[in-house]
């Protein structure tokens, strides 16, 4: 299925929760969705007979200046097609529903996005830091991040 067909089908089912489809080659086309109904949309994409996006290739956080974004790259083992989903949340209230129950691989990916960007994934069973030490402060991949002077008495910038 091509992106336009997937978009039309999603729009039919979820209405306003699907914001837009953006196509601008050579960039990958993506579908912007509303974070509120993300879990329903993902479950639908995974289980609907002619889409079957059973494989989450990649989940990454994004710093969009005022907002934070989360990008989902999906792949279907059966039909071998791909789609990109995007959600945007504000930095003051960075809550995104977790898709960990839908694709178990999202467990570590979401922990990484939380660790580096501070996106809070609601419903994640164990949302703790993964790459940085557990007591690290701040979210390093945000553009306004300032490196701390020291960590437990160790000088950080060398």
């Amino acid at each position: 299925m091509i992106e336009q067909e997937i978009y039309n089908k999603l729009k039919e089912h979820f209405g306003d929760a699907i914001v837009e489809l953006k196509e601008a080659p050579p960039s990958d086309p993506f579908i912007q969705v509303n974070p509120e109904r993300l879990q329903d949309i993902c479950l639908y994409l995974r289980d609907e007979g002619d889409m079957l996006f059973d494989y989450l290739s990649n989940l990454s956080g994004m710093d969009l200046a005022e907002n934070l974004g989360v990008v989902y790259h999906l792949y279907s083992m059966k039909y071998k097609h791909t789609i990109v989903l995007k959600v945007t949340v504000s930095k003051e209230n960075p809550n995104v529903p977790s898709v960990e129950r839908i694709w178990r691989t999202a467990d570590w990916h979401e922990r990484e996005a939380y660790d580096l960007f501070g996106v809070i994934f609601e419903g994640h069973h164990n949302l703790i830091r993964i790459l940085n030490p557990y007591d690290w402060e701040g979210y390093p991949l945000r553009k306004d991040y300032k490196t701390p002077e020291e960590y437990h008495g160790i000088k950080v910038p060398y």
């Binding site: 050579p26 790259h73 178990r104 691989t105 580096l116 390093p140």
Partner: protein, 383 residues
């Protein structure tokens, strides 16, 4: 001799306390700086919690402060066992954004070096897996052959492990004059060693006893956990990006996707994951032989190198079949000479996340085998 005292107890009334044990972060069998927090009931593993991040080098943060070509050496250091394969999806992604088509000769050299590096990676994987099981000799045999492959890389690029050889739009420089003869010789040699390894290690009864029916990963769990590469294919899933989403010139070659068949145990056990790597070495040899036949001798590998690398605003997810699985780079450009964001989808990172799921209920010694069969490199897990 006194009489044996009769002790009166029921096994079911024996109480055993569960124990939490730390494996690593510095232990040879964790293949790097990985810490596993293991909960044991006697010798049975009841829970595994991997703690990662000991090798975190802020790859993604660095990329935001580097120009596009400067990122390539960082990409090398992700999975330092197969750097050529790491460079490929990154440069392909940037080329796609810039709209560059690289010359034929470059494509062939890229494929040949990627496949050679795949062989080197699988040789290490099989060697260290045997080492985990206590087989030392195959390790020496395989490392000897890998050394010859590294010598070819050294002749071409100057580096033995970290190459910085695939550039955006071409290659750093042309291959050395004896390139074709060298590779024909090494392919012959790799095939001979493979025969020896089959006898020495893979069909050895002790090795089969250790690895068959251990750490079984069903195909649906593999998909749900995002496993790819030999881990997924060992579970009988024919998922190979070289066939499923052909990139570069892989559609011109005739090769098979090897999957686990449960030859000595169950589909998806440690032995299956390992035999997939073994047969993939042979398939890689086939690809290299075909590529050497088809490769044009004429052509300038630096002809399409752009003067300025400044991709237009946009984003791309570029993926390729790394020896360990799907390696992807999500590159976002804001129109400047430095990327806005580069996210590396580390293959080992995703494959490792399945470890707690498949190691429950096995013996502690089996846990080491299961970890070895996943074949991780901590440089890619922690980035």
């Amino acid at each position: 001799m006194g009489e044996l005292k009769k002790v009166d107890f029921e096994y079911s009334q024996l109480n055993s306390e569960r124990m939490r044990l730390n494996v690593g972060p510095q232990h040879p069998s964790t293949h790097g700086v990985l810490r596993l927090e293991v909960e044991l009931d006697g010798e049975i593993v009841t829970e595994v919690v991997p703690h990662i991040g000991y090798l975190h080098r802020c790859f993604e943060k660095h990329c935001e402060n580097m120009t596009y070509p400067q990122v390539i050496p960082y990409v090398d250091r992700m999975d330092y066992i197969c750097s050529m394969n790491n460079e490929l999806p990154y440069v392909m992604g940037v080329e796609k954004m810039l709209g560059i088509e690289v010359p034929e000769k470059v494509e062939y050299i890229r494929v040949i070096f990627s496949e050679l590096n795949r062989i080197a990676n699988h040789q290490i994987a099989i060697a260290t897996f045997g080492l985990d099981a206590g087989a030392f000799t195959p390790f020496l045999y395989l490392f000897r052959d890998r050394e010859f492959i590294l010598t070819i890389f050294e002749k071409a690029s100057g580096g033995r492990l970290l190459y910085n050889y695939f550039w955006v739009g071409g290659l750093a420089h042309d291959v050395h004059p004896t390139f074709k003869e060298d590779i024909r010789w090494i392919v012959k040699r790799v095939k001979e060693t493979n025969k020896e390894i089959a006898d020495l290690l893979l069909y050895n009864k002790i090795f089969i006893e250790r690895t068959a029916n251990v750490g079984i990963l069903p195909a649906d769990v593999a998909i749900n956990y995002g496993c790819s590469g030999p881990v997924a294919r060992g579970s009988g899933l024919p998922f190979d990006l070289r066939k499923d989403a052909p990139y570069s010139i892989y559609d011109r070659f005739d090769f098979n996707v090897v999957t686990g068949r449960g030859e000595v145990g169950t589909v998806g056990d440690c032995w299956d994951r390992n035999i997939v790597r073994f047969h993939e070495i042979e398939e890689s040899c086939r690809i290299i032989e075909q590529a050497l036949e088809q490769m044009p001798d004429e052509g300038d590998v630096r002809e399409k190198l752009p003067k300025k690398i400044r991709p237009p605003q946009g984003e791309i997810y570029s993926k390729a079949e790394n020896p360990k699985g799907e390696l992807g780079f999500y590159i976002v450009s804001n129109g400047k000479d430095k990327p806005e964001r580069v996210k590396g989808r580390g293959t080992s990172f995703v494959n490792l996340s399945v470890l707690p799921e498949i190691s429950k209920g096995y013996l502690f010694a089996d846990l080491i085998m299961i970890l070895g069969s996943i074949d991780i490199v901590l440089g890619e897990v922690d980035r």
